[in-house]
C-alpha cells in the first residue's frame, strides 16, 4: 500500500507563505468527530468500544467485583454463576476481575509503546527523509535490519537481554514498532518536501527545523493517526503473546496472555478460562483494527465523494 494514498485532506491554508494552522482547535476536533461518526458507523462503534475498554482499565478497582489476586480456595474452577459472572480459575480467582485488571496491563503497555514509538519513529523518519543522501540511506538500512527480524523472534531475543517486566516489554516493543512509524513518516516527508509551500517556506528563510516542525509534521498527522491505531492493535497482540509464552508481564499481575496460558492446562475442566480472555483480547484488537481501518477511509480524500 502506498502511503501517499493517505494524504491529509486539508490543503495548506491561505497563501503558500502562511504556515498551516498550528493550534489545535477543540471546536474543529469536535466537528471532525461528528463527521467521522456519521460517515463511518463501524468506526464509531469501535471508538465506543475503545472508550469502554479504556474507562474499565482506568477505573478497574471500582468496576471489578473482586480483588483479581484474591483466591477463593473453596471455589476453584467454578463455572459462570451469579457470584462469579465468568467463573473462577484454578486458584479460585474471579475471571472477570482478572480480565478487568488485565485490561490495565494491556492498555498501559499499548499506550506507552505506541506513544513512544510514534514520537521516535516520526523524528527518525522526518529527519532521515529531510536530510536525504547518505545519512538517509544509513538510517533506513538500520531500520530495514530491525524489520527483517520477524517481530516475535525479535521480541524473544529481547527477552534474553531484558529482565521480564512491564518496562522491559515496552522497550522491546518500542524497538519492534518504531521502524513502521519511521517508514510512514519518511514516505510522507519525501512527498511533502516537494510541495510548493515548502519551497515557499525555504524562500522566506525558514530554518530546516522550523520547516520540519511547522510545515512537514502537521501534514502527516492523518497517516500517522491511522498507523497508530493499527499498530496499537499489533502491540496488544504482541504483549499477550509474550505473556502467553511466559516472558512478558510477570505473574501474578493479571494479563490476558497469561490468563490464556494458565487456561490451556485446565481447558477440559474450565473452558471459560480460555474462552473469556480469548474473546476479550480479540474484541480489543478488533476495535483498534476497525478504528484504524475506518480512519484510513475517513482521512483519505480520494474516497470522499
Amino acid at each position: 500500500m502506498s502511503s501517499d494514498v493517505m494524504r491529509s485532506s486539508l490543503p495548506p491554508a491561505g497563501s503558500p507563505f502562511e504556515p498551516p494552522p498550528r493550534r489545535v482547535n477543540p471546536a474543529a476536533w469536535w466537528a471532525g468527530l461528528k463527521r467521522f461518526v456519521r460517515s463511518e458507523p463501524l468506526g464509531a462503534v469501535s471508538l465506543a468500544l475503545i472508550t469502554i475498554i479504556v474507562l474499565v482499565a482506568v477505573f478497574a478497582p471500582l468496576v471489578a467485583p473482586y480483588d483479581p489476586l484474591l483466591q477463593h480456595r473453596t471455589r476453584t474452577t467454578e463455572g459462570p454463576s451469579g457470584d462469579f459472572l465468568l467463573g473462577t480459575d484454578d486458584l479460585g480467582r474471579d475471571v472477570l476481575s482478572r480480565l478487568i485488571y488485565g485490561a490495565r496491563s494491556s492498555m498501559i503497555i499499548g499506550v506507552l509503546t505506541t506513544a513512544i514509538s510514534l514520537v521516535l519513529g516520526t523524528i527518525i523518519g522526518v529527519v532521515s527523509g529531510f536530510l536525504g543522501k547518505t545519512k538517509d540511506l544509513v538510517i533506513q538500512r538500520v531500520m530495514d535490519a530491525i524489520q527483517s527480524v520477524p517481530p516475535l523472534v525479535l521480541l524473544l531475543f529481547m527477552a534474553v537481554v531484558l529482565t521480564p517486566s512491564i518496562e522491559g516489554t515496552i522497550i522491546a516493543l518500542v524497538i519492534v514498532i518504531t521502524p513502521s512509524f519511521n517508514r510512514v513518516a519518511r514516505a510522507e516527508t519525501l512527498r511533502i518536501r516537494e510541495e510548493p509551500y515548502i519551497e515557499a517556506a525555504r524562500a522566506t528563510g525558514a530554518s530546516a527545523l522550523r520547516i520540519m516542525t511547522r510545515h512537514v509534521l502537521p501534514n502527516m498527522v492523518a497517516p500517522l493517526l491511522t498507523m497508530s491505531s493499527l499498530l496499537f492493535a499489533g502491540v496488544i497482540i504482541a504483549e499477550s503473546a509474550l505473556s502467553f509464552l511466559g516472558i512478558g508481564t510477570p505473574p501474578p499481575t493479571p494479563s490476558w496472555g497469561l490468563m490464556l496460558s494458565e487456561g490451556v492446562r485446565y481447558v477440559e475442566m474450565a473452558p471459560w478460562m480460555v474462552f473469556a480472555p480469548g474473546i476479550v483480547l480479540s474484541m480489543a484488537v478488533f476495535a483498534f483494527n476497525l478504528l484504524g481501518d475506518s480512519l484510513r477511509d475517513f482521512l483519505d480524500p480520494r474516497l470522499h465523494r
Binding site: 538500520v142 530491525i146 497482540i237 502467553f244 480460555v274
Partner: protein, 320 residues
C-alpha cells in the same frame, strides 16, 4: 537482470551484517553475566568461571566478539550451543524444514482464502456480501493467531474429541499424519493473512475492472468470466505478491508460538527453548538466521515480480 540480482544480494548482506551488529550491541545490556547464570547451581569456583569466559570469548570487548563472530560466519561457523556443544548451524538446519513447511502452508492457506474473498467482494461490490466479507476479514485479522490455534484445539478436542497427533512425522514418511498435524497451525497462522490479501485483491481488481483495457476486452465480446479471471485477476497478481512479503514476517514470527503449542520440532521451538535456557550462542545465531530467511524470501518475491510482470523486467534491465 543479473546486475539487479547482485544488487539485491548485496543489500541483503548489508542488512544481515547490521542485524548482527544490533544483536551484539544489545547483548551488552544483559544484566548478569551468561557464565554466572550457567554456573549458578554447579558451585564452580571463580577460576573455573574465568576459564569458561575465556573459552567462550566473553572476556573480550564487544567489537572483538563481533569481529570474531563475523569472521566465523563467513566460513559457515556461527558458534556452538552452550549446552549440547553442537554447531548452531546444524541445530538450525535440522529444524528449518518443519518451519518452512508450516510457513509455506500458512501463506498458501491465507492467500487462497484471501484471494477468493477478494474476488467475491469485488464482483459483488457494494452489496451485503461485500460488507460481510470486509467485517469477517477484519475480525479474522483481530483474533491473534495463537488464540485461533488455541480455540481450534479446544473446540475440536472438547466437542469432537479429536486432537492432532503429537509426534511429528515428515510428509515423505506419512503424508496423512503430517497433514493432520500441520492443518490446525497452518489454518491458525493463515487467518492473519486473509484480511490483508482480501482487501488488496478487492481494491486492485476493482481498479483493473474500471480501466481502459478491460473496456476493450469487454467490447470485443469476451464473457465476464474471461474478463475477470484471465484479464483483471492476472493484473492483480502483483499486489497480492507485495502482500506476501508483508505477511511473511508475521507468519515467520507466528511459527514460534504455534510450533510451541502444537509441539512441532521447528526452529521456533529451538529459539524458544534457547531463550529459556539462556543458550546465548543459539539465540544470537537463530535471530540472525530468521532475518536471513526473511531477506532471502523477500529477494525471491522480488524476482517473482519480474517473472510475472514483463514491464518490471524491462524496467530493471534498462535501469539498473
Amino acid at each position: 537482470m543479473i546486475r539487479y540480482l547482485l544488487g539485491r544480494l548485496g543489500y541483503g548482506a548489508v542488512v544481515l551484517v547490521l542485524v548482527t551488529v544490533f544483536v551484539f550491541i544489545a547483548m551488552t545490556f544483559i544484566p548478569s553475566d551468561a557464565v554466572d547464570l550457567m554456573l549458578a547451581d554447579t558451585g564452580a569456583s571463580e577460576e573455573q568461571a574465568e576459564a569458561l569466559r575465556t573459552e567462550l570469548g566473553l572476556d573480550q570487548p564487544v567489537h572483538q566478539q563481533l569481529a570474531g563472530f563475523l569472521g566465523g560466519a563467513v566460513q559457515g561457523d556461527f558458534g556452538t550451543s552452550f549446552y549440547t556443544n553442537e554447531p548452531v548451524v546444524d541445530l538450525f538446519l535440522d529444524r528449518v524444514p518443519v518451519t518452512l513447511q508450516l510457513g509455506l502452508l500458512s501463506l498458501a492457506v491465507g492467500t487462497v482464502i484471501g484471494v477468493a474473498f477478494g474476488i467475491l467482494a469485488a464482483v459483488r461490490r457494494g452489496t451485503r456480501t461485500d460488507g460481510t466479507i470486509r467485517a469477517v476479514a477484519v475480525a479474522g485479522l483481530s483474533v491473534p493467531n495463537y488464540v485461533v490455534g488455541l480455540l481450534l484445539l479446544t473446540v475440536l478436542g472438547l466437542w469432537f474429541a479429536w486432537s492432532p497427533p503429537f509426534v511429528y512425522t515428515s510428509p515423505t514418511e506419512d503424508f496423512g499424519s503430517w497433514l493432520q498435524q500441520m492443518a490446525l497451525p497452518a489454518i491458525a497462522l493463515g487467518t492473519s493473512a486473509v484480511a490483508g490479501t482480501a482487501r488488496m485483491t478487492r481494491s486492485s481488481l476493482l481498479e483493473n475492472l474500471g480501466s481502459q483495457f478491460i473496456r476493450t476486452v469487454r467490447a470485443k465480446g469476451a464473457s465476464e468470466r474471461l474478463v475477470l479471471y484471465k484479464h483483471a485477476l492476472r493484473n492483480s497478481v502483483i499486489s497480492v505478491l507485495t502482500l506476501l512479503g508483508v505477511n511473511l514476517g508475521t507468519v515467520l514470527g507466528g511459527t514460534v508460538i504455534l510450533e510451541q503449542m502444537f509441539s512441532l520440532p521447528g526452529t521456533g521451538q529451538l529459539i524458544f527453548e534457547s531463550v529459556q535456557n539462556r543458550d546465548y550462542p543459539v539465540v544470537i545465531a537463530c535471530t540472525i538466521f530468521y532475518a536471513g530467511l526473511f531477506v532471502v524470501t523477500m529477494i525471491i518475491i522480488d524476482l517473482l515480480y519480474a517473472l510475472v510482470d514483463p514491464r518490471i523486467r524491462a524496467a530493471r534491465e534498462a535501469g539498473k
